[in-house]
Amino acid sequence: MPKSFLYVFFIWLVATSLEAQQFAVSGYVYDHATGETLIGVRVQDSLSGKSTVTNTYGFYTITLPSGACLLRFTYLGFANLTKPLRLGGNVSLSVRLGEDENLLQQVVISASGSRAQEHVKTTEMGKLSVPMELLKRTPVLFGENDLIKAIQLMPGVKRGGEGTVGMFVRGGGSDENLILLDEAPVYNVGHALGFLSVFNTNAIKHVELYKGAFPAQYGGRLSSILDVRMREGNDQRLHAQGSIGNIASNLSIEGPIVKEKGSFIISGRRSYLDRLVDWLTPSKFPYYFYDLNAKLNYKTSEQDRFFLSSYFGRDVLAANAVDSSGLNTGIDTRIGNYTVSARWNHIYPGQKIFHNVTLVRSQFRYNIAGEAFGNNILIRSAIDDYAAKADFDYRPSSRTTIKMGAALTHHIFRPNLISVQGDISDFLKARKSKAILNQEFAAYVGVDNIVNPRWRINFGLRLSGSTVERVFYSGYEPRLSARYQLNERHSLKIGYARMTQYLHLVASSSLALPTDLWYPVTKNVRPGASDQWSVGWFTYFGKNEAVQVSVELYSKKLYNMIEYREGARLLLNDNYEAELVRGTGDASGIEWMLQKNSGRWSGWIGYTLSWATRLFPDLNGGVPFYARYDRRHDFSIVANHDFTKRFGFSFAWVYSSGSPFTPIVSKYVMPFPNYSGVDLLAVYPLRNSYRLNASHRLDIDFMIKGRKRRHWQGEWHFGAYNFYNRTQPNRVSIVFDEKTGKEKYQERGLFGVIGSLSYNFKF
């Protein structure tokens, strides 16, 4: 059967490649002003109607009949560019798109239309791609632009606790999201206990979130892939931008290494509440964070380009005191990620094959050092990844794109090294961190084919595997998506994807800490897997085709899920496997999204109706229960309005049904086993059978741009988080009610209204 399948596939491949008198036009599309490659630019031959879009490296290739063609490049916010060509052979054509002030409105309308057409014509489903400019305008906590918090406002993505960057996508857990920064996995995405994400938006170029119908090149997590690409830097002139905010400031400097050949960007950010408190008050604020993004790229020829990018970030909590007896008491906690990606892009002769080879180094570690009453403790954990991957894009004809590649990752996990000195060693045994070595591999092939004007299919297969403790696990992950075009403005799509995950996060459900530990699969803990089906309707309408609408239904089954058994103890537990139980999960829902990316009003409205349940034979008496972030309704509206070129207003209003929780409903008196005293024991109802109140909040932001000067451009933002001061669920307390004389459960938030003020600048 596999042989016959390969034979048919080969015949089909040859047949699609043998379209007579066809030549490839390929190259890169750049931003004229900065030299940054542009992702998702539509390239269309106006004569034949054939089209393509640039990939994540800004590369395109399009196969066209010999003779005359008229290539039109369109991209939101940029002037259209038309290039007439007469094809008699393969052509290399890289172009630079410029922003044209006079034509901007017209251009935006045109590009908006082309974007809307792509929305309907591709097979992609469950994909969120929001322009960075729109994300940067979204008002958020502390006035800090935050990529993940903006994504949390999208349909299908649920938030965790108030203000935190936890993401729960289509009924999945927070550890089921693969977050890639220039192809390097980022294990801890939160600063400040998760209230801010580690991504500095000034260093980010492009973000895509996949929630379902995953293309074959993505894998490794069950629920989502967040693909974040860093900016490459301005290859035309030295340039800087930055912002000064409530709690942190950042500065980016970029410029050419050799004009139009290579560039660099370096971007740093630091919180400074510690400095302010130190300066303005007699107190000390013991916490700060910082991060640094840097990237170099150099083009050695039209065919070869090299990139080196890196991220380094740390959270530091350090406090110290000396008691009356002269003994030190203190804590020093350092948590952070470090990633490096080296990439080589190459276009093969013939212009139809593009490859990207990547070497990745990713590291996450935390050190917690404590000292009290003559005792010292040091707890350390680390993950080190070394990965190599190669991806090929092959475009044998104008109707077919083939993506294939392979990746190998060597993980080294060093969880919970504990070093103790003093009497505490009687309670807590020091232990060396046993390194757990794990190799994970994947190979994939995916084919996108326009069968006819109505049907387009994308199918693929990903084979993955992992070795650990002399055990080998493998995953067979078929992928399929298809589009049926009803007419120019409407299409129906269907998608299926199986995903396998070889890592899991050991964390308490009641506390989310950066110190939660990642572990690979083991002899006893099998890889998680998911099967997801989705169907959707995609359309666009409105003046200038500016409004895109999508409705997607999904159904997801999760296998080999792990949870902690009732009463599990997790902190410093070196036999965590004994605390795990295995089960399955179900998630289903409908997501509705209306998005407008151009015009004076831009933004989106999203609504999700969803269910997420878990079934574990050893939990809840074997009865299914709602997942922790199951919320029936989620609604968000994010809107930006430009009153003039200098004044703008943004707001985001979000509504969510209450999360499930498990309160103590009754208690009873029980003697100790030796009848030497009595105790009060709790009675819990079925797990997650009660609900918190629905939450909603309004965030606002006013933008005032300074007058444009030759060497300086400034922009003020005044805003407020939780503008009408509504409690956002963060914790549940039992308090005494004076009216009834009894106690009651109360839901409390962490923050009320928080004003924000920031100043962004470019020079």
């Binding site: 005792n375 009754s666 009873y668 819990y684 928080i754 004003g755």
Partner: protein, 293 residues
């Protein structure tokens, strides 16, 4: 100078906004929790040679307030302690009717012990008209070969720690579970008075373990730590318990740990009481009196 003024103005605004946040905490939201119906709770304690003591209570709302639970309070007694009940034990064709010692506490003086015999406890609460039932068995008594504590002093923390050494021979042929308890004679009377406020973070001084990692029928050495003080007089006991009771006690011990209550998952204790809570167990301990030195 201009820059400095601007900087201070900016910092002032930033601080004002944070100050606003600190002072405008939103009103907490009440969460409606339905009070579930009361259910009956059973516990038991065997007193050799033929005695047994039982507590019969009812569950009560978690929102009653722990500080207000005074078991000398008439309202609490009426609501929590079962004062008017019929309790019987059936075994080997015999029926023992329990007598009331005090509200919530019942006893028996004629319950003969037979190995490999089901003991069925039936409790009817006349106030709530509920009846519950539970079944248990006596298990063989374990002879305790050796038991002695070893003291360890932790000078900086100013605490003492004892390690008990239990040595006994495992019962052959079956998977066995064991319970070790430590009863401080000095505080027994104080603890067992069912009055006063109750709280849940007492150090629960018992251990449960199994012979899973021990050869069947082989000698077992068990060495748990115990946080006591020199001079304390303890009654230390070792009992053979059923798997069900072991699971109940293991879950109870885990749920009673403060750290576990903060970071762990909710845990409902297993029970062998049909329609109720608690655990009906008849165990035969081997006990020694030990003075910590």
């Amino acid at each position: 100078m201009k820059t400095s003024s601007f900087g201070r103005f900016f910092i002032l605004l930033a601080f004002l906004s944070l100050h606003t946040a600190c002072n405008l905490s939103p009103e907490p939201l009440d969460i409606a929790i339905e009070e579930p119906p009361q259910r009956l709770v059973i516990s038991s304690y065997w007193i050799p040679p033929q005695g047994a003591i039982f507590t019969f209570t009812r569950t009560f709302s978690a929102l009653l307030g722990e500080d207000s639970i005074d078991l000398n309070d008439a309202y609490i007694v009426d609501r929590v302690l079962i004062d008017d009940a019929l309790g019987i034990i059936r075994y080997n064709g015999t029926v023992d009717t329990l007598f009331k010692i005090s509200p919530g506490v019942y006893g028996s003086l004629n319950t003969t012990q037979f190995l490999a015999t089901d003991y069925v406890l039936e409790l009817t609460d006349f106030k709530t008209q509920q009846t519950v039932r539970a079944v248990t068995r006596f298990l063989p008594k374990i002879p305790l070969d050796t038991l002695y504590p070893v003291q360890r002093i932790l000078p900086n923390l100013g605490d003492t720690l004892f390690t008990f050494n239990f040595q006994f021979t495992d019962i052959t042929g079956v998977e066995n579970y064991y319970l070790a308890t430590y009863t401080n004679i000095n505080t027994l009377a104080e603890n067992f008075a069912l009055g006063g406020g109750l709280f849940n973070f007492n150090q629960i001084q018992f251990n449960v373990f199994s012979d899973k990692n021990n050869g069947d029928g082989m000698p077992i050495q068990y060495q748990p730590d115990f946080g006591g003080s020199a001079g304390d007089t303890l009654v230390v006991s070792l009992s053979n318990i059923s798997k069900g009771y072991y699971e109940f006690l293991a879950a109870y011990k885990r749920s009673g740990n403060l750290l576990s209550q903060l970071t762990g998952e909710p845990v409902n204790l297993p029970t062998n009481v049909e329609g109720g809570y608690g655990y009906f167990a008849l165990i035969r301990p081997s006990a020694r009196t030990v003075i910590l030195q």
